[in-house]
Amino acid sequence: MASTHVDSTSHHDPEVYHQFETLEQQNDSYIVGMWTFLVTEIMFFGGMFFIYIIYRWSNQDMFYRLHTELSWPLGALNTVILLLSSFTMACAVHHATLKNRKPQQIFMGLTALLASGFLVVKLAFEWYPKWQHGHMPWYWDWPGHVSSPDLLQVPGGTAKMFYSLYFAMTGLHGIHVLIGIICIVILMYLTKIKSILVDSFLPTEMFGLYWHFVDLVWIFLFPLFYLMPK
């Protein structure tokens, strides 16, 4: 009873888990699994985008007025930050495939830093002022303190709906960024202690896929909330 291995997994490469035959099969499986997971993520955010479209469709004018309250330069800054982080992540994956541990670590560190920068901009410069103005759904005060008189004509209900969507969508995206930071820190730690888990480039590659997805979501969120046409 000492060993849980009963039979014939007499194989091979210690990197290959018992359920797989070859490293190639294992790598393929992980990549297919990751893409399948990203499909669920697309549907997850897709549901939110669907709601957004429905409501924007029926409140074009009011949504336009409300969007002026959001600062597009900050949004643009965040877009740049995330695009940069996608680039650094791609570099990290490149070096992971070559097993260049040092540059891999540096690029992953940069990615984590940029991601944290994104969250700082988002929370400190965008969410916090809204909190102060009473525009959090659970701390709702409308029109309260708004930047332009145009907004005074927006019905409180529509404003709350807009902000609900804004906080739900950017918040959910923010949670994904946060999870990304946590994952990357774990990856960096495992790489540092030379864990066998990250000997292959695959974990870095999979995280890279996730990170590009998170970036992509923001690429949609930015114009939808910050750059509405009149």
């Binding site: 888990y17 797989f20 659970w138 709906m161």
Partner: protein
Amino acid sequence: MSATSVGIPDVPKPKEEKNYLNNGNTIASWLLTTDHKRIAILYLISVSFFFLVGGTAAGLVRLELTSPRGIFFENETYNKIFSLHGIIMVFFFLIPAIPAVIGNFLVPLMCGARDLAFPRMNLLSWYVFISGGFLAVLAMLLGGVDTGWTFYTPYSSLYSNTQVTLAVFGGFLAGFSSIFTGINFIVTIHKMRAPGLTWFRLPLFLWAQYATSVIIILGTPVIAITLLLLFAERVLKLGVFSPELGGDPVLFQHMFWFYSHPAVYIMILPAMGVTNEIISCFSRRRVFGYSFVAFSSLAIAGLGFLVWGHHMFVSGQSMYQGLVFSIITFLVAVPSAIKIFNWVATMYKGSIRLQTPMWYGMGFIGLFLVGGLTGLFLSSMASDVHLHDTYFVVAHFHYVMVGGTIMGYMGGLHMWWPKMTGRMYPEFLGQLSAMLVFVGFNMTFIPQFIVGYLGMPRRYHYYYLAPEFQVYNIMSTLGTTVLGIGYILPVFYLLWSLKYGRKAGPNPWHAWGLEWTTASPPPTFNFATVPIVTSEAYDYDAVSDEQHDFLREEEDAAKAAEGKE
């Protein structure tokens, strides 16, 4: 590892062969296992528990409805009981039942793989499922939920002051658990098939599981975000579904049914898959029109995403929307009809053995047929207007989800029980329970069709405004008793068989399929060597099989072996 005993005298007689069941007996070896077969058993135990909880609630509902003014409960309690029944049965029994128990056990075995692609994620899915179930049960214990399983807003978001938040979060977690299972199945079926096991040699159960997984992958995230928003509406005062803010009151229904209609196919497709295996094995015939049946699964999965609006013909969506959803719904009739007719055709020129799984298989065809055809009433807009939200709908979806899914589940459980446990159950009791379920089921739900047509709305506690409904409700409740016995009976004889059942050989039914080529119960890593598949699917031969009575032969062999000892 173990075979070093040669030459050493007085070694204790080698015990039973190692299999996944006796490979580690500690609780930790079960709770931390990554073996898909053990996880399947964990799921089996958990969904049986939830079935018991949901079934008890169903019994209470039926008992209460025997009188137009109720018997035991206040309105609020009654509402909580039927919500409990719905939430537990849908999210914690029907959706996971076949994929997570039978699928988990069989997908790697049928693929000829040692395990699913991601065994740890598989275990995680069970823990997530159990946490979700725990929250749902906790919600019931802390006072219950009175929204019904559909959680329609604005009642659930703004008006109900019951434990909706907890239950919604439980449902959210259950969704994640099925996403994990879905990803696992898709990757396993894509990447881990044994050499020679081409797509068109796959057992149709795997095709069904594949289609199911696609639905899970595409649909479940949408219900997850919907429930999350509902959760945020209650906790963070978010306002997305709130009509008070000018939100669309029907939007939640769209989001909800976008998942929950395909979810019906999550429940029924695996049952269809099980039925393929049963009908084919017990008729000793290759499934008639294999590729049509295989693709009809995918067609159902695809069309399933385009029909959600048929739940909303009277909910205030536009008339033209209704027309589109209705016609697409009619198209689903085609793949369903293909399946049914192909199963029947499979029996032609077979050598049909009426053993327990076959009774369940034929019962499935009968009940699913009624469920599917009564769907015509509800997919037709004008006809739906009168029947919508009445007991007709209740009866219809019970025929599909209970008649269909549970018949498939029970059939599968009986077919693969020898594989799972290495023991045979008493055949007579098995057949008896299959017949009790079939008869009891019809007794329960046929009166509900009638009372629904007469106009009894669903989710009604009191019906003193129309006391003529009482007679049908009493008939239905009587049927429930029979049905209940049919469901309880297997619990006893299956448990009994664990200890006293006759030992099953690797292939007691002489069935086709890789899972039957390994021992019963299978060893932890399923196959000693990777199997290579050389034959087409369902390579049965009714003519030569006619010479054998496999079950009897096995029994004789077992007796002979005992006699020798």
